[in-house]
């Protein structure tokens, strides 16, 4: 039973992670975005932590959640600087047209949001469940 659950959870983990990244990037045009993507990614890691162990989930995340928080905040901040330089207005975004899609600093901003949400949620989930296991 637990073997099945554990195996299935890894499958779900991968699927949810993929879904969350998809949510993040389609967010500008369809429902989704950094907050939702981040929450679902965090849910994926939480599932792994509950089904297997916090240690596994931490290993899967590779970096410490605090690093994600800091990097995400920094990235969102950086994404506002080009606009500050060109228009004198912080967080006025730049855009490049790639075929039919627009790519711009707003995407970077949303990725920053995504990282902060993952890091914030997971730092707590890991912390809360580390005590339970022992």
């Amino acid at each position: 039973m637990s073997v099945i659950f554990s195996t299935m959870s890894r499958l779900f983990f991968v699927l949810m992670l993929l879904a969350s990244v998809y949510m993040l990037f389609r967010g500008h045009n369809e429902p989704g975005g950094g907050f939702i993507g981040g929450l679902f990614a965090a849910l994926a890691f939480a599932l792994l932590a509950l089904a297997d162990s916090v240690k596994t989930a931490r290993k899967a995340l590779i970096v410490h959640p605090m690093v994600l928080i800091g990097a995400g905040l920094f990235l969102s901040f950086l994404s506002g600087l080009p606009g500050l330089v060109s228009h004198g207005s912080f967080l006025t975004h730049w855009w490049v047209e790639l075929g039919s899609a627009h790519v711009g600093t707003a995407t970077a901003f949303d990725i920053g949001v995504f990282m902060v949400v993952i890091g914030g949620v997971l730092s707590l989930v890991f912390r809360f469940y580390e005590g339970v296991e022992q």
């Binding site: 929450l39 914030g120 809360f128």
Partner: protein
């Protein structure tokens, strides 16, 4: 319809306030969750609910069509939900920490500071 919304929101808030008045820290935590959910719904209702299409601009058009829901309250509520989560998470950590430090989940037993007595009494004793 607005009366039904008002009834549901009022019921959620009433339950939230009743729990907030409890002395059990977990029930207070539940109250925070309930109240923030109800508050989000309130903002949502205040933004107007005439239209049920998502505020997404259709392919081939360049502006939001008639009949789309109001996007502004949605943007506000979206961040409010996440912030509300952060608040609840912090409160939960506080509950745990307080329990570890004091050994009780009842606020009337988390009274180490009050047990020291009123600062006025201490001052009065000094002045005698």
């Amino acid at each position: 319809m607005s009366l039904i919304y008002a009834f549901a929101i009022a019921a959620q808030m009433g339950a939230g306030v009743y729990l907030l008045l409890s002395r059990h820290v977990m029930r207070i935590l539940f109250a925070v969750v309930l109240l923030s959910t109800a508050a989000n719904l309130l903002i949502f209702v205040a933004g107007g609910l005439q239209f049920a299409a998502p505020p997404v601009i259709q392919q081939g058009t360049q502006m939001l069509g008639e009949g789309s829901a109001n996007p502004l309250p949605q943007a506000l509520i979206l961040t409010a939900i996440v912030i509300g989560f952060a608040l609840v998470a912090f409160a939960a950590a506080l509950v745990l920490k307080a329990y570890y430090a004091i050994g009780s989940v009842f606020t009337d037993e988390q009274n180490d500071a009050e047990a020291l007595g009123s600062p006025f009494d201490a001052e009065a004793a000094d002045n005698v």
